[in-house]
Symmetry: C3
Subunit: 393 residues, 3 copies
């Protein structure tokens, strides 16, 4: 986002910029558990500071970048935690090497800044993948090379920041890879296809072999919905890997993208391997004509800068975008019955000016969840109306 205050030394070699990001969410749920065995039985409307970040991003001696960003948002909003803290070398054009706590550039939707994502939350299938060994607040070291027609990056990753990291226990260890090609990338349009892989070599923690994967129902205001699409604790986990493909097309103000994920959990102690899968497809159209421009260094698409920022005096109403997504994820295999999620989301994004947008999401979805040899569905049907107020610079 623009309008980021930046201060440089007179020689221009050393700079510091102030960055901030505020995502304030509200949601109203219509929630119907499918049986008395569903957890939760009811959910609560409410508000949540999803992200409330402050930080500094700068450059030393032209070639070195650093950042320190803290976040007062999240599930337990109010508590300020470390978001990003990193050092990067960018002295060679088309190359970036970085280490520290970063937002690991794995998957198309994670490479897209949370300021620019199409819906309030990324699709469940994508969150399941990145939570294993990537995502935000993640200790990582790696690099990426990029140009107008490609982006390739690989990272070794460790634990995330936060209160739950006990440095006296084994720490998680993983790796990610992302390779993207753009056969078309010009003023008229962009076509992107890519391949991603994630490997979690050790899960960390006192046993260093337990793992649970889960996600909320694509709205985060009530965290209790995390119990729905949820494998529970899987024991004797040797490693986990995710293979996925991504594709996107941008043509003028129209954009469509999707990803498909195949998750595989390898277990010891005579337990069988587990295989899950999920994916999403989404499309949007900016009816006021602005475009999501491709960002070469991110290997992903940027946000909307409204041509006519809102000004009630002149009648300018900013930019408006319509979006729709279908999202699917299944965490069922063998005796692990984590449930199956099917969500359809309709979104309206109102870009007030270069730094603000309001997002409106209606999620219509269902989770089906049956224990083995049971015909009791402990899932739920739901419609969620959610709104985000976003400020970023």
């Amino acid at each position: 986002p623009g309008n980021r205050p930046t201060f440089c030394t007179d020689d221009g070699l050393n700079c510091i910029a102030i960055t901030g990001r505020l995502h304030l969410d509200t949601a109203a749920y219509s929630f119907s558990p499918k049986s008395a065995g569903t957890t939760p039985q009811s959910v609560n409307d409410g508000i949540n500071a999803r992200r409330a970040r402050l930080g500094l991003i700068g450059t030393f001696n032209k070639d070195w970048e650093y950042g320190v960003i803290v976040d007062a948002g999240g599930t337990t909003d109010g508590d300020v935690t470390l978001n990003n803290a990193y050092v990067a070398y960018k002295g060679v054009k088309g190359l970036l090497i970085q280490g520290g706590y970063i937002d690991v550039p794995y998957t198309l939707d994670e490479a897209t800044s949370s300021n620019n994502i199409m819906f309030m939350e990324r699709a469940a299938s994508q969150v399941l993948a990145t939570n294993l060994a990537a995502g935000d607040n993640r200790a990582a070291f790696g690099g990426q090379v990029f140009g107008d027609h490609y982006w390739v990056g690989a990272y070794v990753t460790g634990p995330t920041t936060g209160l739950n990291v006990n440095h006296s226990q084994p720490q998680p260890l993983g790796a990610t890879f992302r390779a993207v090609g753009l056969p078309i990338n010009n003023e008229v349009g962009t076509v992107l296809v890519g391949f991603d892989a994630l490997y979690l070599a050790q899960t960390g923690g006192v046993t260093n072999n337990t793992l649970g994967i889960s996600d909320r129902i694509e709205v985060r205001v009530d965290p209790a919905t995390n119990a729905l699409l949820n494998t529970g604790t899987m024991n004797f986990v040797n490693n986990a890997r995710v293979l996925s493909g991504e594709a996107a097309v941008k043509f003028g103000s129209f954009m469509a993208s999707g990803e498909y994920f195949d998750y595989n959990i390898q277990r010891s102690n005579g337990l069988s391997d587990l295989s899950f899968n999920g994916g999403y497809g989404q499309a949007s159209y900016v009816i006021t004509g602005e475009q999501h421009k491709y960002n070469t260094s991110a290997g992903a698409f940027g946000g909307i800068n409204p041509a006519r920022p809102v000004n009630f005096a002149t009648g300018d109403l900013g930019a408006w975008e319509l979006a729709v997504r279908y999202s699917y994820a299944s965490l069922n295999d063998g005796v692990i019955r984590g449930g199956e999620l099917k969500n359809t989301t309709v979104g309206v994004n109102w870009y007030v000016n270069q730094n603000m947008r309001f997002m409106f999401n209606w999620i219509h979805g269902t989770v089906d969840k049956f224990a083995v040899n049971s015909n009791v569905n402990t899932g739920a049907d739901y419609d969620v109306f959610a709104m985000r107020t976003q400020v970023a610079f």
Copy 2:
């Protein structure tokens, strides 16, 4: 406060300002419990970072304001939590619409910035009211209109930020209203009268019908004094409302103000309603001649900007203010015996320069607290000598 670094784009439409606030308190208590049943039996002298805030406040496209402020102070000082995070529309003169985590402008003393309050702590009766559904760090949405002779605002309010908000439980829901008229507001003096109302529709939490109200003895260094003026948990609470009146007079360097609060708790399950009350009156005189100017957009009075900032070389000694307050609150009704507080506070405020002041408070007070049909007083007498070192910009 002035000297706030502010950076704008060349067109002046987008700005960002850095704000900070540091209130460092120390206190020495002379504390005499009235019986062996008093809790606490003794209190501890000490120090406390009451407020230690850093944040950004800015403007986008001239009409939109935002703020993100974190606070490392408070009762458990040291832990950094979200203080304010909001977006406001100010495109129409005399109107402000805002939402997010804000400092809800309810009551005269809360509308007065903590940088400018007359004593180190606001009066107990005021704290009891705002803690129900307003105050600082409060999720709220609402608006206000104001001019030289009026200020009217209404807000819907939710939970406060912080570690205690469990977003999986029902969240508190309330509303506030404040209307102020200024029959006189000119260079000579200001006369303000107003009416305030607060309604707490649901208390939140797992039962969503319990409530406890309490305050420390107008010094916050030892939080154990919170047990004195304290209703304990009240069950089956349907709702709570507070009606109050406020008045203030400023004439040159003299200022006096007061508020009276009537609290009413409505209960179900055959339990009777509860009625509490409290109030305060305070007056100050700036002996070096400076004045607390009325702030139209806040509907309250500002701070002191010393004409001659402290400079030991030239003998300038800043501005000095003397202040006195009487504060009363009773939380006794029926079988609820939360106690009765009577405090007299004498204060000296030394304004070193535009951004710094030292405050000295002597609180002489008593809490009387009798269980029903008991003549054992579990209250306490106390004298507290407290000092605040304040920096704000």
Copy 3:
């Protein structure tokens, strides 16, 4: 460190500067417990954000300084806590009076900024001393006078910030003193000798007479090593005092320094006093020719500003420093057998530019620890390879 963005009012009297500090550590341990009774039996390699600070430091009306700095690093990195929050008067040349949460200038190595210390961690003997009543995040009030040939400072100290301060319990209370003389301090070289004292009058906490002293093995990534050099809880502690001497020599690019500490714990209830001791000696040489300049106001040595910052295009490789340290500490006296630590550390510091350095430490050490009348050694041998990535401004 330089390149700190600073913004002043036009008259230059009021300024604000943005400061940041990032110390990212990684470590690999080779750890051999000396018996099955050693705690811990194994330690974990990993990463840690040792310091991740953001803050503001400024001046009001020329004579008054203030600072508010928060830290997202530490043992439980990720949680943001208050680091420094203070106000200082500096209106008289060669004098500084300050109060608040500060980094107490006690001992030579603490007076040296963590940005400029020779090794990743200060020596164990120094940490044992400052943790009693000084160090960082410490409530303190005091002053210092200094000139080219002396530095003298004395402080009264209280609790540290953080989640563990319960303001309803007695707070710790102590005092520190440091006096330094510089018989030689010129362009050729600097010779410094000094005397330090610390007194802990009350330990704070619910009993207000218990105390434990401990340190990790001079690398902090796995906090479990804190159990090795550790007295456990000592009861009936009346007070503690530390007497120490310090000396340093700088000649061109060569620098050597050392401190010796004598710790004494006085106990009541018929328990004997306890006496511990420790010390360290360290030396470094900057092979690229830069020097650690003496900082008059700190009474300590500054960092290295590389003459030729790293630029791979021109072949400039920054500044390089070699360092070695021997560190010793014994916490054995009477029935208290806290163990004896002997560490040798070899370090390489690579100064990339004025604001960045990478540190490489190899710690070869041992802790011997025998219970009274036992010949079972519950200590450990270890080699630790550690690296720090440092950014500061």
